[in-house]
Amino acid sequence: MSRSERVTDWLKANLFRSTADSIVSVVVGAIALFVLFRIVRFVFVTGRWEIVETNLSLYVTGAWPDAEMWRLVATVLLAAFVSGLIAGFIARSREIEAGVEAVSLSPRARIIELVVRLWPLLLGLALVLALTRTVMPVLLVVSAAVAVVLGRMLGRLLPRRSPPWLAALAVVTLLGVVWLMANGVGLESWGGMLLNIFLAAFSITLCFPLGVMLALGRRSKYPVVRLLSVGYIELFRGAPLIALLLMVDVAIGFFLPQSIVPSSPVRAIIVFILFTAAYMAEVVRGGLQSVPGGQVEAAKALGLSPISTTFRIVLPQALRNVIPAIVGQSISLFKDTTLAGAAMGLADLLNSAQASTAQEQFRGQGLIVESLVFVLFLFWVGAYTMSRESQRLERRLGVGNR
C-alpha cells in the first residue's frame, strides 16, 4: 500500500465514514480551527505577557526571600535524587522478578518515552524557563534532572534486600525536607504555587491517619463507633469546603480559647485535613471492601491477632488497591487549595495573580486575563501530570485485575 493510500484509508475510517460523518467533521473541524487560531493568536500575538514575566517568582515562590532560596534548591535536588533512587531500585527489582535482563533502550528511545510520558510537565517547565530572566532556574532544572538520573542509576546497583533502609531513607529525606523548609521562613511568607503545593501535600499526609481510622470505624462492629464515623463522614461530605473555610475563618475565634487560635495557613490546613479525611475514609473503605474475606480467615487460622490482621494483612492490600484513588484525592485537594486563597486571603497562586494586576506598571490594564491564564496553566500542568502518573501507576499495579 502506498503512503497516500494509507492516508486515504485512515481518513475514510476516522473522518469520513458516511455523509453525516463528513459534514460533522467539516463543521467541527472548522470551528476547532477557528478556536485554535484564536488561542494561538492570543498566546503569541495579542497576549501581553510582561506581567507574567515580571511576576514569575511571585507566582511560583511567593515572598520567599532570596537569602533562603538554597533551601528550595536543596529540597528539589534531594527529593529528585531520592525518588530517582527508589524508582531505579523498583525498576531493577521488577526486571529480576520478571526474569529478564536489563531492558536496554537506546538513549533516544528512552528520551522519546520520557517525553511522551511527561510532556505536560516538560511543557510547563519549558514555558517557565522561557519566561525567566535569570539563569538560576535553568541550572536548578538541569541539576534536578541530573540528580534523578544519577539516583536511578545508583538505585539499580543497590543490593536486592534494601527495602527497609530504602523506606528509612525516604522517611529521613521527608523529615529533612520538612526541617529544611520549616526553618527557612515563617508560614506567613509562603506564597504562590509553593503555598498551594505545601497546603496540599501537608494536608493529604496528615489526613491519612484520620481517614484510615474513620474507614475502620465505619466498618466496626460497635454501633456507637460506626454511627460516629458515619456521622463525621457524612457531615463533612455534605458541606461545601468553601463554607467550612469561611466558617472557620470567621468563627474559629469562638470555638477555641482566644489564646490558641492559629494563623490563617494553619487554619486552612486544619480545615483541609478534617475535610479530606472524610473523603479519604470513603476511599480507604473501598479498598478494605476489595480485600477478599479469605485473607482475614487465613490470618485468623494462622493465629494472628486482630491488630496484626488489620495492619499486616488487610490494610496493606487495601491501601495498595487505592493508591490511584488517593492520587486522585490529592489532585482535587491541590485544586481546592485555591479556595483557601478566596476564603482566607492567603497569598496563594490564584490570589497572587489577581494581586499582581494592582502593581503600578500593570494597574488597570485588564491584564488579569493574561495572569489568570498563566496560573491556570500552571495548575493544569500540576494536576494533569499527577493524573497521568496515577493512570500509569494504576496500569502498573494492575488494580482491578486482581
Partner: protein
C-alpha cells in the same frame, strides 16, 4: 470445669469491654463537642454576641441584587432568597451538565477522529483546572465582555432584554406555587396522553407520535390553567438604565452556571465513558447483528446499560455541583453562602449563621442523594 470458671472476670469480658470502649469513645466525642460549645458560649458572652437564632428576625440591612428584596426585611427572608438562588443555579446546572456530560462521554468513544480528539482535549483540560479559576475567568473574560452595555441593549420586542445587567425574559406574576401546581397537572395530563398514544401504537401499529399529541396538551392546559388561577405575564422592558418586569438572570448567574456546567460535565463525561466501556462487547455485537443503526445501538442498547453503572458516581458529581455552587460568593452571586457571609458581615453572629448554612447544605445533599437513590433503584428493577 464449672461454668463460672469458663466465664472470664468482667474486666476481661469481651462484651463488657466492648460496651466500655464504646462508652469511652462516646464520652471523648461528647467532651470535645462540649468543650467547643462551651468555648463558643464563653467567647460570645465575653464579646457580647448573642448565640441564639434571634438574628433571623433582625432587619438584614443589605439588599440582594436582581429582585425585590429590601434591607428592611429580616435576615430570614434573605436566607430564603439565598436558598432559592442556589436552587436556581443547581437545578439548571444538573440538567445541563448531565446533557453535556453524556454527550461528551459518548463523543470520547466516537469513531470520528476529530470528535474523539476534541472531547478528549476538553475533558483533560477542564478536569485539571481549579473551578475557582475557571469561574473568575468566565466571569471576567467571557460573560462581562459578551453582553452589551446598557446603552446598546439587545431588545427582542417584549420577549427579551439583554445587557450586561442581565437577561430578562417574560415571567409569571401572581402565586408561583399555584403556577407550579398547574404545571404539574398539565405535565401529568401530557404524560397520560403520551402513554395512551403508545398503547394505540402497540394495539394498532399506527405511529405513536406521542410528542405531537402531548406537547399541545401541555401548553394549552398549562396556559389556561395559569390564567384560571390568576397568573399573569410580565414582560421585560428597559426603563432608563434598569430592567423592569419579567425575570432577570444576572451575568453572575450565567457565569456561575457556565463554570459549573463546564466543570461538572467534564467529570460526568469520564464516568460515562468508563461505563460505556464496561458494557460487555457482546451487547454491541448482538445489536449490530440485529441490524440496529449506530444511533439505535447507542440509544437502546448501550446507554441504558451504561447509565445504570454510571448513576451512583454521577450522583456524587451532582452533590459536588451543588456544593460547588457556593463559589458564587466570589463573583457576588447571592446564593446561600454569599447571603450568609453578607449577613455575618452585617453583624449577624458568625457561629449560628454558619452552622445554619452547613445544615442547609446537608439538607440539600440529602435531597439530592435521595433523588439519586430513587433513580438508581428504579434502574436496577428495570434491569431484572
Amino acid at each position: 470445669m464449672s461454668a463460672e470458671a469458663q466465664r472470664p472476670p468482667f474486666w476481661r469480658d469481651v462484651r463488657v469491654l466492648g460496651w466500655f470502649f464504646q462508652l469511652a469513645v462516646f464520652a471523648i466525642v461528647v467532651a470535645i463537642v462540649g468543650i467547643l460549645v462551651n468555648n463558643v458560649r464563653v467567647n460570645s458572652a465575653n464579646q457580647g454576641i448573642p448565640t441564639g437564632f434571634s438574628f433571623l428576625d433582625q432587619p438584614s440591612s443589605f439588599e440582594i441584587p436582581g429582585n425585590d428584596f429590601r434591607q428592611s426585611q429580616p435576615v430570614r427572608d434573605a436566607l430564603v432568597e439565598g436558598v432559592f438562588n442556589t436552587l436556581r443555579v443547581v437545578v439548571a446546572g444538573l440538567v445541563l451538565a448531565t446533557l453535556l456530560g453524556v454527550t461528551l462521554g459518548v463523543g470520547r468513544l466516537s469513531g470520528n477522529f476529530l470528535i474523539r480528539t476534541i472531547t478528549r482535549v476538553y475533558v483533560e483540560t477542564i478536569r485539571n483546572i481549579p473551578l475557582l479559576g475557571l469561574l473568575i475567568f468566565f466571569y471576567i473574560g467571557l460573560v462581562l465582555t459578551a453582553f452589551p452595555r446598557v446603552e446598546d441593549s439587545w431588545i427582542v420586542g417584549s420577549l427579551l432584554v439583554a445587557n450586561v445587567r442581565g437577561v430578562t425574559i417574560p415571567w409569571i406574576t401572581g402565586s408561583t406555587i399555584a403556577f407550579l401546581v398547574v404545571v404539574a397537572i398539565a405535565a401529568g395530563l401530557a404524560w397520560a396522553v403520551n402513554r395512551w398514544r403508545l398503547q394505540v401504537n402497540e394495539r394498532s401499529g399506527e405511529p405513536a407520535r406521542g410528542g405531537l399529541w402531548a406537547i399541545p396538551v401541555l401548553v394549552l392546559v398549562g396556559f389556561w390553567g395559569a390564567f384560571f388561577v390568576g397568573n399573569g405575564i410580565t414582560t421585560p422592558e428597559l426603563d432608563g438604565r434598569s430592567l423592569e418586569g419579567g425575570m432577570t438572570m444576572q451575568p453572575e448567574y450565567f457565569a456561575l452556571l457556565l463554570a459549573l456546567v463546564i466543570y461538572t460535565s467534564s467529570h460526568i463525561a469520564e464516568i460515562v465513558r468508563g461505563s460505556i466501556q464496561a458494557v460487555p462487547k457482546g451487547q454491541v455485537e448482538a445489536a449490530s447483528a440485529l441490524a440496529l443503526s449506530s444511533w439505535h445501538r447507542l440509544r437502546h442498547v448501550v446507554l441504558p446499560q451504561a447509565l445504570r453503572i454510571a448513576v451512583p458516581p454521577i450522583g456524587n458529581q451532582y452533590l459536588n455541583l451543588m456544593k460547588n455552587s457556593s463559589l458564587g460568593f466570589v463573583i457576588s452571586y447571592f446564593e446561600i453562602t454569599k447571603v450568609t457571609q453578607t449577613t455575618v458581615g452585617n453583624r449577624s453572629p458568625a457561629v449560628p449563621a454558619f452552622l445554619l448554612l452547613i445544615v442547609i447544605y446537608l439538607v440539600l445533599s440529602l435531597i439530592i442523594s435521595a433523588g439519586v437513590n430513587v433513580v438508581n433503584r428504579r434502574l436496577q428493577v428495570v434491569e431484572r
